[in-house]
């Protein structure tokens, strides 16, 4: 029902998010070619990428308006991703 009500009166700020995504992408490309230490470059870029990904998930995939239980479901595999990658990284 909630989505319906929302749709009737005001759409989520689709165009706003679009603008933010575009600006952030340009920012990212610019940032990547700064002469910073590799670590800071990687960290900054990762933060921006995660941020953008979150915007897409929250607004374009409407997670913001979904029931909390769906959030939990969606977050389920994230720890697994982290465990796999960090554990294997310690190998090398």
């Amino acid at each position: 029902m909630t989505t319906e009500a929302q749709g009737e009166h005001h759409d989520p700020p689709y165009m706003m998010i679009f603008a933010v995504l575009l600006i952030m992408t340009m920012g990212e490309v610019g940032f990547a070619f700064l002469s910073l230490p590799k670590f800071w470059l990687a960290l900054g870029l990762c933060v921006m990428a995660v941020w953008k990904a979150l915007l897409v998930a929250l607004y374009y995939m409407h997670l913001r308006w979904e029931p909390r239980r769906l959030w939990i479901l969606v977050a389920a595999p994230l720890p697994l991703v982290v465990i796999l990658i960090t554990a294997v990284l310690t190998e090398f």
Partner: protein
């Protein structure tokens, strides 16, 4: 909003099943969307693969028990590249071991547990009219068929079937120069990639169905344990299979277009493959045991006529086994050259898994305690499951201790462990399930007499085959060796190997009793009553007999209590079905008329 309504096609979410037109043969038996028919398709197909896997095991045992001697009877049927004159070649032996495990794990046990019971039980036990996505369900079975065909075909291509073990460690599996197998390995990879889709579509279906389609009153903690375990298993499938698929794809590229992910010649990392494989592989072994635990819980509670001991603890144990299963994969890699610190953390997490497993075992014992135990065939298999799983689980503790794993890793101690958990566990669970739900599936009872003969032959022969393997392992008998006699120190063990092989032939022959009884009972078995085991769960009491299209003739059932109210003082009999409303209970628990049950809304 309503003003914008356009054409109504009346597709109610899953529930609308009112058109009772006759479906064609093809729609009924081949491309059926009925979850019960799909379950039967999975059952037949995977029993066939179980048989193939068993025959391959027989060939393996022939070579080990009688090395260098021609295979009797069928020896002349083999080609010159496999077993000229019936004498097995080393490369063929490697293929046999690899394909034995591949068929057993991916094409027999996995579909037998998940494909069959996921499809058959989930909608019936939660009171749903069908799966959430019936057509996806059909696809899930039919995707697995080409996978099976490709895997079988790999025996007949040049170079033979894949021979790098079911774990396919790179770079042996990545480069045909090392193994002499190219096409076979490619087919192995492609087949498993395809099969992954089948499991995945299944998992999506089961998860959605269980979350969204439980009958009114079927709260989470009133769900029967088979459904619970299948739910958790589906999550493992959903999240583990894609990891393997990614790895298989990279290995396939190494093998075909020369990428070099796992090839050290181009700085690829063989250990990366092992991590990917086992990150999938360990959850996989719990995929192979959790549903069996669910089936066994149901059978034990039912045949002991007693509520399952500690229902909540059982559910939590399933969930925590699944959770812990994600952080232990490294225990397969203690000797692989993995970072020893990482090894330590894997060791500790692995050993901790014994705790939820202990909860399960003790709760099964608790269920039997002060019960009223009926030794029917399903119960015998379920009890064998408990007894054998204890052995397999305990041998896991040896290997989980990394220092002790040093001498026993890659020996027959591991092979013993594998078969105690996979045959003693999963397969006995499957036998329990098939014999228990056969009446619901086919409307006839399986012969108890043949069933008992099969059970006793199996349990004795099985232990004779696999128990001595522990001892072989402790005498440092390596696994995957073609001819143990080439090691001088293993030569005194030949007698034991021959003994094991003979027991294995008896074991395999004993399974034919089951095959016969299965097909015989399907057509000529005694007609089953509606609820032969006097069970509480919905599939026996509310669904038709055998359940027809739409599952619940009286409409969606209501659920009033948990699934294991056996011997409840509320009832005059020793059971109290989930769908019987509280107030008429005193009149006796059995719903006599089909219309007796309350309908949804």
């Amino acid at each position: 909003m309503a003003t914008h309504a356009a054409t109504a096609e009346g597709h109610a979410t899953g529930a609308g099943h009112d058109e009772h037109h006759k479906l064609s043969f093809i729609r009924t038996y081949i491309f059926s969307t009925d979850h019960k028919m799909i379950a039967k398709q999975f059952l037949l197909a995977s029993l066939l693969f179980l048989l193939i896997g068993g025959i391959l095991a027989g060939l393996v045992r022939w070579q080990l028990g009688f090395p260098g001697q021609p295979i009797p009877f069928i020896g002349s049927m083999f080609s010159d590249t496999t077993a000229p004159g019936g004498i097995i070649l080393p490369e063929f032996y490697n293929s046999l071991v690899t394909m034995h495990a591949t068929f057993m794990i991916f094409f027999a046990i996995m579909p037998l547990l998940v494909g069959v019971w996921g499809n058959f039980l989930i909608p019936l036990q939660i009171g749903a009219p069908d799966m959430a996505f019936p057509r996806l369900n059909t696809a899930s079975f039919w995707i697995s068929v080409p996978a099976g065909i490709l895997m079988l075909a790999s025996f007949f291509v040049e170079g033979g079937a894949a021979g790098a073990g079911w774990t396919s460690y790179a770079p042996l599996s990545a480069n045909p120069e090392y193994s002499g197998v190219h096409m076979g390995q490619v087919l192995w990879l492609v087949s498993l990639i395809i099969l992954g889709f089948s499991s995945l579509t299944g998992a999506v279906n089961y998860i959605t169905t269980i979350i969204n389609m439980r009958a009114p009153g079927m709260t989470w903690f009133r769900m029967p344990l088979p459904t619970w375990s299948l739910f958790v298993t589906s999550w493992l499938l959903l999240l583990a299979i894609p990891i393997l698929t990614g790895g298989l794809i990279m290995l396939l590229f190494d093998q075909t277009i020369g990428t070099g992910f796992f090839n050290p010649a181009t700085d690829g990392e063989p250990l990366l493959w092992q991590h990917i494989f086992w990150y999938f592989g360990h959850p996989e072994v719990y995929i192979l045991i959790l549903p069996a635990m669910g089936l066994v819980s149901e059978v034990i509670s039912n045949r002991a006529r007693k509520p399952i001991f500690g229902y909540h603890a059982m559910v939590l144990a399933i969930i925590s086994i699944a959770f812990l299963g994600w952080v232990v994969w490294g225990h397969h890699m203690f000797q692989s050259g993995m970072n020893p610190l990482l090894g330590t953390s894997f060791m500790i997490s692995t050993i901790i898994i014994a705790v939820p497993s202990a909860i399960k075992v003790f709760n099964w014992l608790g269920t039997l305690w002060k019960g009223d135990i009926h030794f029917d065939v399903p119960m015998l298999h379920a009890l064998a499951f408990v007894a054998m799983f204890i052995i397999g689980g305990l041998s896991g503790i040896f290997m989980a201790s990394a220092p002790v794993d040093i001498p026993i890793h890659d020996t027959y101690f591991i092979v013993a462990h594998i078969h105690y958990v996979l045959f003693g566990g999963s397969l006995f669970g499957i036998f329990a399930g098939i014999t228990f739900w056969f009446p619901k599936m086919f409307g006839r009872m399986m012969s108890p007499k043949l069933g008992k003969i099969h059970f006793w032959v199996t349990i004795f022969a099985y232990n004779a085959v696999f128990f001595p393997m522990h001892n072989l392992g402790l005498r440092n008998h390596m696994r995957r060796i073609y001819d143990p006699n080439s090691y001088e120190y293993l030569q005194p063990l030949q007698g034991l190997n021959t003994f094991i092989s003979i027991a294995a032939f008896i074991l395999i022959a004993g399974q034919m009793i089951f095959a016969f009884s299965f097909f015989y009972s399907m057509f000529f078995g005694e007609k089953a009553e509606q609820n032969p085991w006097k069970s509480n769960t919905l599939e026996w009491t509310a669904a038709g007999h055998p359940p027809g299209h739409g599952n619940f003739p009286g409409g969606t059932p209501h659920v009033y209590r948990g699934p294991y109210e056996y011997s409840s003082p509320e009832s005059n009999e020793d059971f109290l079905p989930q769908g019987v409303p509280p107030e008429p209970v005193r009149r006796g628990a059995v719903p006599r008329e089909p219309g007796f049950l309350p309908t949804g809304d």
